[in-house]
């Protein structure tokens, strides 16, 4: 079986120790978490972990089984990239002088569909939402001019398929 990108979605109680417990499952199998996002979900008081891994489907399935077994996990799923709509966000902090000196930067801003979040005397901040490779491309384009700070969020996803997640969850927590 070949390595592939998988997005694991974990719906859980909001508990202090749970992140440690979940990350331990990856650690135990020596699998790197490529990206991690924790947020509230569509259901009140239920948290959602979105975890991206690059591994085989077999391992992903086993990991999801181990995750779902944890007491405070309500339900866990995994999906391939084809099955989801996914995005990441990034912020670029760049010296303000460049905005005026380098025409190229203005083009990059336009072409990348990014937004200027703030401009001050010393720096401006660009926000970009998109797929990882789009953010990577923008990063590569800006890098030669000098990036003061860069940060990228974990991946967030929703499934294409009308997954009756809410209903599924409600059933499993009834």
């Amino acid at each position: 079986m070949e390595n592939q990108w998988f997005t694991i979605s974990v719906y859980s109680e909001n508990n202090v120790g749970l992140l440690n417990r979940i990350s331990g499952i990856f650690l135990k199998r020596h699998i790197n978490i490529e990206s991690l996002n924790v947020s509230k979900s569509e259901i009140e008081q239920v948290s959602k972990f979105t975890i991206v891994v690059f591994t085989t489907e077999d391992w992903t399935r086993k990991i999801v089984g181990q995750i779902e077994k944890q007491i405070e996990v309500i339900k866990a799923f995994y999906h391939t990239d084809d099955e989801t709509i996914y995005q990441e966000s990034a912020l670029f902090k760049i010296a303000s002088a460049l905005l005026f000196d380098e025409r190229q930067i203005q083009n990059i801003i336009k072409e990348s569909n990014s937004q200027i979040v703030t401009v001050s005397r010393d720096f401006f901040v660009l926000a970009k939402t998109g797929r990882r490779h789009e953010i990577d491309e923008m990063h590569d384009a800006l890098e030669p001019f000098g990036i003061l700070q860069f940060v990228r969020s974990g991946r967030i996803t929703v499934t294409k398929e009308a997954m009756p997640i809410t209903q599924l969850l409600e059933e499993s927590i009834k």
Binding site: S12, G65, E72
Partner: protein, 577 residues
Amino acid sequence: METLNAQKPTKNNNIAMKITGAEAIIHCLLAEGVDLIYGYPGGAIMPVYDELYKFQDKLTHILTRHEQGATHAAQGYARVSGRVGVAMATSGPGATNLVTGLADAQIDSTPMVCITGQVPRHLLGSDAFQETDIVGISTPVTKWNYQITKASEIPEIMAKAFYIAKSGRPGPVLVDITKNAQFDELDFTYEKCTKVRSYNPVPKPDLESIKAAAELINNAKKPYIVWGQGVILGKAEEELKALIEKAGIPAAWTIMGESAIPTSHPLNVGMVGMHGNYGPNVLTNECDLLLAIGMRFDDRVTGSLDTYAKQANVVHFEIDPAEINKNVKADVAVLGNAKDTLAALLPFVKENSHDAWHKEFDKKYEEEFKTVIENDIHPTKPGLTMGEVIEEINIAAKNKAVIVTDVGQHQMIACRYAKFEQSKSNITSGGLGTMGFALPAAIGAKQGAPEREVVAIIGDGGYQMTIQELGVIFQHQIPVKIVVLNNDHLGMVRQWQELFFDKRYASTVMVNPDFVKIAEGYHIEAKSVSKREDLKSAVEEMISSDKPYFLEVKVEKEDNVFPMIPSGASVSDIRLK
């Protein structure tokens, strides 16, 4: 749901009680039916020990000589009784000493609740004296854990801890309680936990998979059962027996499942795994249907997965969905408690006998008997064998003893040759292979089943890992029988060195102390034998004693355990010598 108001002897019973967190912990334990716990005090748990002092008449606390001993004693207690074992320790080193027992209970699915004291809430994270992050440390080795920082959380969390430890696939739970939560007061009422919304302990059996399993059974020519501890934990012994008898299916066990069906049952064909019986291993690769019941295809059972039962349809009866297809792909997975699923299966199964197939097991047994078993239990060479000691114990105890084993050659020999008539009689550290397990586990086993004879079989290496628990046996006069099979080596490791490392005996030779004197130092009656003619009477004397008794048997120093599946080899390639 049961509601229980704490009964404080000095105050009016009817009012919801204002009591300290420490006292609340005792009331929680009592409400869960706990009357015996193992542990070791220290600063961060002292308020609870103070309450234990006051509640001595209702709750016995056994001071083990090391916290690891407390966990193994709690495990031994849980394994013979089916109840939750409880261990308690202080923060820091007390808590970290629990880790081996937690890991053992986790991998062997033993219901246990461990309670640890913790530094006061305001000192958390400050590297305070005896602060360790035991919740962080114990996370991978617990089914669940939780840190209580407010007294008011105690009843609900304790109820949840017991429920989680014993429900579904059992396991260890650790509850860490900061010292302020032990001192502070709360309004105490107790409600047993019967449900946790995010937790589904027993998957609902699905009739379709049960029918599919029955169909495979009814069409199989060479069906074969391998059962594990799930049968014992699920109390499914009768259902399993009914199935094998009705369908005429030969059945073998993993060491964790041993004793669920009497050794003498004609369809009990023996032990699978690295040092298991010849037929059960080899014929795994010749059956046409493998029914795996409450077992998890550990690598010590399967050998190489690439060549394991590839020819067979596999039906996996399992309570834990994460075990399905983890190691061996199941053609049919039957989820649920084995007691329920086997009971549901039985009416769909046709009567059968499979005589020719049984004969294949008989033939293989004869081969193994001639090359291995006979020499093990009726040796003609001068040195004593571990096998003949086990055989003498079988005879003296009339196959009725609970056998508690440590880890190594003696463990494999004991599992191979001990005979059982009753379930929950073989207590061993299977998944973790924890040396030092047996002595404290035997204490727990005897206290969990006081009416039964409990014999611990231990190697000279493992014995010295928890030997200090002799203090508990002496202080409380716990009448366990301790047999040390002394080969002056770390026998199992020495065997591997002999077979796979050209006899380079790196650090496996031991110069041992006078074990009899040590036992006598604890005022435990003790004897040592090294001659065959003394063995029988020594074992008889030990079994007939109603007190703690220590027997050292000096066995052959360089014997090997066979058969053996070399690690990574196929079950078909099991070696008889």
